[in-house]
Amino acid sequence: MYFGLSEEQQFFKDNVNKFLNDHASLDIVKKIIDNNDLDIKNEIANGILNLGINSLLVPEKYGGLGLDLLFAAAVSQSLGENVAPFSFAGSYVMAPIALSLGGNEDQKNKYLNSIVNNKMKFAVGFSEYIAARNNFGFLFKNNTVSGKSIFVLDVENSTHLLIADEAGQIGVININDKNIKLTELTTVDKTRTYFEIQFEKALVDILEETKSNINAVTRSIDAGRIVLAADSLGASEALLTKAVEYSKERKQFGRAIGSFQAVKHMCAEMAADLEPCYSLVWHAAHCFDNIPDESRLMSCHAKSHVSDVSKVIAKKATEVHGGMGFTDLMGIHYWFKRIGVNRQNLGSPETIREEAAKIQNL
């Protein structure tokens, strides 16, 4: 029995960390965002992809590494820790899982191989399946779709779009299709981008298996949630570290503010709240591949609980920094906002808890 990241998983995680430390410091992330510098952004994205991130979850049969979700969770933790300007959950976690489970042999050969050699990249629009807000849901009809998906992940640099209709069918749409309209949304989190996409009788290649069962869409969402939880976990870890460091450096009344119990206890509480989240996320990722009976519930618990803990840590870590906490100079807000968006992606905690109750037939 061993509970934790394996050496290989830790190695993968460290590699991503090292690359980001070397090439995507907060200063660089700020530069990318302030100047909308897509060249540097793409350079960083390519660097991350060169570590093998794109093929992580693609089965070996289709040229991928065929690793399990715990690898992806470990990577995601590093991305969140460094507020990496890189979208991972949709294109490189949800897409390969949806395609692997939903596609027929032809579709898998066509799409999965192309993910591995970077010929294709998939944006993911599953929000309407999770909870169709204001009746924005849609159903595929005769291999076409009309309607809109209001919060599509990872559109940047994507060649294709993966959308789920209300029935849980998943379809592939070419991003250059004349019958779709892309509108970039501006969220609080500028490290990643989100789009609203409208379809007017756009052509859909429906993944064969998803016509008869929802396994592909639910598994894909479960995995996405775990990986987003890992991202928030990494971001929270970074915030806690920063808060503790700051409380040791910053002096008031002639002593480090960390020596005051009001501040010290706040840090200790953050640590106590966060610590079990590592185990929960890793456990959920492990269940995803190895313990199917518990997998769905664990994924719900991981996403909703880590979202709640991270929200509190974002607030407290900002407070420990005093007024500096909400300056752009200090940059705490990058982590704060990333946590804020992760929280809503693929279902808010309340939405997910209702799902968790239903999974248990409550």
């Binding site: 394996s6 079990p276 664990m298 618990h301 905690p349």
Partner: protein, 367 residues
């Protein structure tokens, strides 16, 4: 990550499960004699499984479900310490609602200390009786002016004519009124520095000069006591470790302190009990479980307890895999478990509304 246990553990779990099924509903006839015993009474007397607490203790030891790794000669089971088996026992007992072994200061803290630092005579004299529930201990540490700063304690003992003569006062002494013995920290070297002047003594509670005064707490029971010592004389050999080494002896004990609050499986059993209740009880004809506000809070708590369970697996893993560093995971358990339990029980009271305020001896309205 590898959550598989060796096949032998599967068999062991089955064995424990069978034991639990056999003893479901076991009830103690002397349950009201002491709060210690109350703690673990199962509350059902169906099936003629009424036995004494001591007998239950004996059954557990014979089966290796308690005192597993303590040598037979000292009254234990005499097996090897096996963290996974300990876990299996604790989780199956919690799941089936089987009463745990007796706990208390003697079993949890004194026995490990004697095993580590006691003389052979002390081991022979005290361990077996303590394990078998025949000798109850209390812990004489805190004093009115020595709480968090325990090492500033002032109760003194002087060695006169081969006897320790003890004078002073202890407070917050759990179960003192039921105890035959006390392990106690006293100042024996008044000239030495704070920590170096303390010794660890074993005091028979029947010795003349000991006055136990119960402290009634908010539950209207005497969970604690004040204990006064006036010229209490005990034999010189009733010391663990050497004179002035009591602080080190006590610290060896503190590392053995455990609590049910750190057992996430027991907490999950409470969640499951609450879920059952919420499925049965209604407000205006709506099941509590179907009321969205309660439903959401319930699942949020369930997620938190799940996180606690995962954390606990990580701590277990570090025990089995030397070198695995789990840093904070072990350290937070007591704090996290306590806060979590408070949150859970508070929510349960809210869910039950006015019924949640009823005291344990109140009649319950029929459903």
């Amino acid at each position: 990550m590898d959550l598989n246990f060796r096949p032998e553990y599967k068999d062991f779990r089955k064995e424990v499960e069978a034991f639990c099924n056999k003893w479901k509903g076991v009830y103690f006839k002397n349950a009201s004699n002491s709060p210690l015993l109350d703690l673990t009474s199962s509350g059902s007397n169906e099936g003629n499984k009424i036995i004494t607490r001591q007998k239950w203790q004996k059954i557990l030891i014979e089966n290796g479900y308690f005192a597993r790794s303590i040598p037979k000669e000292y009254g234990g089971f005499g097996g090897e310490n096996d963290e996974i088996k300990n876990r299996i026992i604790a989780s199956e007992f919690a799941y089936h609602g089987i009463p745990s072994p007796m706990s208390g200061q003697g079993i949890d803290m004194l026995v490990p200390t004697l095993l580590e630092l006691g003389t052979e005579e002390q081991k022979q004299k005290y361990i077996k009786k303590t394990l078998h529930g025949e000798m109850i201990w209390c812990q004489g540490y805190s004093e009115p002016n020595a709480g968090s700063d325990l090492a500033s304690l002032q109760t003194k003992a002087e060695l006169i004519d081969g006897k320790w003569i003890i004078n002073g006062q202890k407070i917050w002494t759990s179960t003192a009124q039921y105890s035959q013995m006390m392990f106690c920290l006293v100042r024996t070297e008044p000239e030495a520095k704070k920590h170096a002047g303390i010794s660890y003594l074993l005091i028979p509670m029947g010795t003349p000069g000991i006055d136990v005064r119960p402290l009634i707490d908010m539950t209207l029971k005497a969970g604690f006591n004040e204990v006064f010592f006036t010229d209490v004389a005990i034999p010189e050999e009733n010391i663990v470790g050497k004179r002035g080494e009591g602080w080190a002896v006590a610290n060896a004990t503190l590392t053995h302190e455990r609590g049910s609050l750190t057992n996430p499986n027991a907490t999950m059993s409470r969640v499951n009990a609450l879920i059952d209740r919420m499925k049965e009880d209604t407000i205006n004809g709506i099941r509590l479980i179907d009321i969205p506000v309660y439903r959401d809070k319930l699942i949020a708590l369930q997620a938190k307890v799940t996180a606690f369970q995962s954390n606990s697996l990580r701590v277990l893993s570090a025990k089995l895999n030397p070198g695995q560093d789990v840093k904070m995971a072990g350290m937070i358990q007591k704090y996290y478990g306590t806060e979590l339990r408070h949150e859970l029980e508070g929510f349960a009271v809210d869910v039950m509304g006015e019924l949640g305020t009823l005291y344990e001896d109140s009649p319950l309205p029929e459903r």
